[in-house]
């Protein structure tokens, strides 16, 4: 079981001070948060992708590469990568690149995004949301697995004899999660490929999350990837903790009441009852999240949202201390109890390389070019290929 945090990368005014951080400040704060996540023993740091204010994270690979350089162990992911409006060729290249630089500590979460206007900004039409997600991912899947791709589709120019570089590290592409809140097509897509399914969970009643996960598990089995309880499931979560439950509620309430996503709507009490948001003591968080598997089955990844709604960096770092120090160690133990041996662990690069029978250098050397007439094979690497 992997535990971690995911950030939506919002820039929100702190309602208790009226202060709004700048983009640079939030970006640097996210780096501090990621470093802290590793320090307190979490497994995953995931960062969303947005292309409009009030969000700052338009280029997750840049940020994640920097985090990779400053961490040792932390697994880096996205939450989410827009499979609809990013060119799948560029995704294939960017994340293979990141995968090499991070020594394999990379996976991706695909999503369609929640901002309609983003489509035209990147030359696409929102009415094609689902078809774009389907076609683009089908191409991305091939680009990481086939050295030379000939391809033709509906939404981008055809590819002829195209090789996406660099090739995936050790010949094993990054693991992919498909994130969806309510589109059965995306659960189906995850099941079709035998990829992971992530439900953001945080703004929804658990009954809803449960239905989507059940659909994905059923279809995972249908497509022959193994029994439904072997499917790879991730969930989002949302917590705010203080030693004393009343202190947590008092401190978080102004952030809840003014948060862009639910502020000025339901009361914090109603919302915590209806969704996974848990505001209280570490033990309350443990109780709530240990029970998640009663709804969705034994699962592989739990990510928490902790750095949004204008919470200052110091508070977020405190939350990480509590999460890593008190909550996650207990959850790890509790969720391991009674977990059937055949339920797989969360995928890691090392495990996937081992499953593929070991790593291999997947580099594709070009067949020479008109300038040098030679392949870029290093000197002394054996028979230089004669190409023309």
């Amino acid at each position: 079981m992997q535990f971690g945090i995911f950030s939506v990368s919002d820039i929100t005014t702190d309602p208790t001070t009226g202060r709004t951080p700048g983009e640079g400040e939030r970006l640097k704060a996210v780096l501090a948060i990621a470093a802290k996540a590793e320090e307190v023993g979490l497994d995953v740091f995931a960062l969303g992708e947005h292309h409009n204010p009030p969000f700052f994270s338009s280029s997750p690979t840049t940020t994640l590469a920097y985090v990779a350089a400053r961490t040792e162990r932390l697994l880096l992911s996205t939450a989410t990568t827009l499979i609809t409006t990013n060119d799948p060729v560029k995704i294939a290249e960017d994340y293979a690149m990141l995968q090499h630089l991070a020594d394999g500590r990379v996976d991706l979460m695909m999503g369609r995004g929640n901002t309609g206007p983003v489509y035209p900004w990147f030359g696409q039409d929102i009415r094609n949301g689902i078809p774009l997600a389907v076609e683009n991912y089908a191409l991305l899947h091939r680009l990481w697995r086939e050295d030379v791709v000939d391809w033709q589709g509906r939404f981008r120019t055809p590819l002829q004899s195209f090789t996406s570089t660099p090739r995936p590290l050790d010949g094993v592409p990054p693991f992919v999660w498909h994130g969806s809140i309510r589109s059965p097509e995306i659960a189906e897509q995850a099941a079709y490929y035998g990829d992971g399914f992530f439900h953001n969970n945080i703004f929804w009643p658990i009954s809803h999350t449960q239905q989507m996960v059940a659909l994905y598990r059923r279809r995972f089995e249908h497509y022959g990837h193994g029994a439904a309880d072997r499917a790879i499931v991730g969930l989002g979560g949302q917590v705010f903790m203080r030693r004393n439950s009343q202190d947590a509620k008092r401190e978080f309430r102004p952030y809840f009441d003014n948060a862009p996503v639910y502020g000025h709507g339901p009361s914090m009490e109603d919302f915590t009852e209806q969704t996974p948001l848990t505001v209280g003591s570490p033990q309350e968080v443990i109780d709530r999240y240990a029970a998640m598997r009663d709804h969705v089955g034994d699962y592989q990844r739990q990510l928490f949202l902790i750095d949004h709604a204008g919470l200052p960096l110091g508070t977020v770092l405190d939350q990480l201390e509590i999460l890593g120090g008190e909550v996650v160690p207990v959850l790890r133990k509790e969720l391991a109890v009674g977990r059937p041996a055949h339920v797989p662990d969360a995928p890691t690069h090392a495990a996937r390389v081992a499953a593929a029978g070991g790593g291999r250098d997947a580099t594709v050397h070009g067949a020479g070019d008109d300038v040098t007439g030679a392949s870029p094979e290093p000197a002394g690497a054996g028979d230089p290929r004669v190409t023309r």
Partner: protein, 210 residues
């Protein structure tokens, strides 16, 4: 056969003339169904009771359990009596909120008898200009008679604002008979159950094929 009629009242006050009209219309529908040899069960949804949940649902994107259950009462009924107060020449905001949180297509094919209340008779065409187009958008089947009651309609026992219009009671009965005829002639709607929002409507291989 037993038919379930959902009665939605968008009245804001208690007591409410909108609820009063909704009850009269519902009783008339029940009567008309019995005359057609059908049992009728009435389920009243008072939107006022769900006002805060409706606002929260618009902001958060999901309904509370209580609201979900009320919405299911409406969408799984065999027929609908819907009554709104008229404000500023149109249905009330609360009434529209309830419509806005329904799943797309949830009321498709639903027989509907519309009603409205207002302070003055000059709002009477709001049913035709605002409420009926809304129900057309929802692909429901509205009956020809729509029941409008101005405050003065409640005051005149025998008739309406002027001598040449059909009295309120008669308009209610006519609308009720029209709804009962539509409901009685159809298979029970509830039997199919509510739409499964997770049902995949296309084969994934077909999606892949573009």
């Amino acid at each position: 056969m037993s038919r379930r009629i959902a009665v939605v009242s968008g009245g804001l006050r208690q007591p409410s003339s909108t609820r009063l009209l909704a009850d009269r219309m519902a009783e008339a529908v029940e009567r008309a169904l019995r005359e057609a040899g059908e049992d009728a069960v009435l389920d009243v949804v008072e939107l006022r009771d769900h006002a805060q949940d409706l606002t929260a649902a618009l902001l958060t994107g999901f309904a509370t359990e209580r609201l979900t259950s009320a919405l299911e009462t409406i969408t799984t009924a065999d027929g609908l009596v819907a009554v709104t107060p008229i404000f500023s020449g149109s249905y009330s905001g609360l009434f529209k909120n309830a419509v806005d949180v329904l799943e797309d297509g949830a009321l498709e094919g639903m027989p509907v008898l519309m009603g409205a209340t207002a302070g003055t008779a000059r709002h009477s065409l709001a049913l035709e200009h605002a409420v009926r187009p809304l129900f057309s958008y929802l692909r429901t089947i509205t009956v020809p008679t729509a029941v409008f009651a101005a405050t003065e309609d409640f005051g005149q026992a025998a008739g309406s604002t002027t001598g040449d219009v059909v009295p309120l009671g008669a308009r209610i009965d006519r609308g009720a008979r029209e709804l009962a005829a539509l409901v009685a002639g159809r298979p029970p709607r509830g039997a199919a159950g509510p739409r499964d929002p997770f049902a995949l409507t296309v084969n994934f291989e077909d999606l892949l094929g573009g």
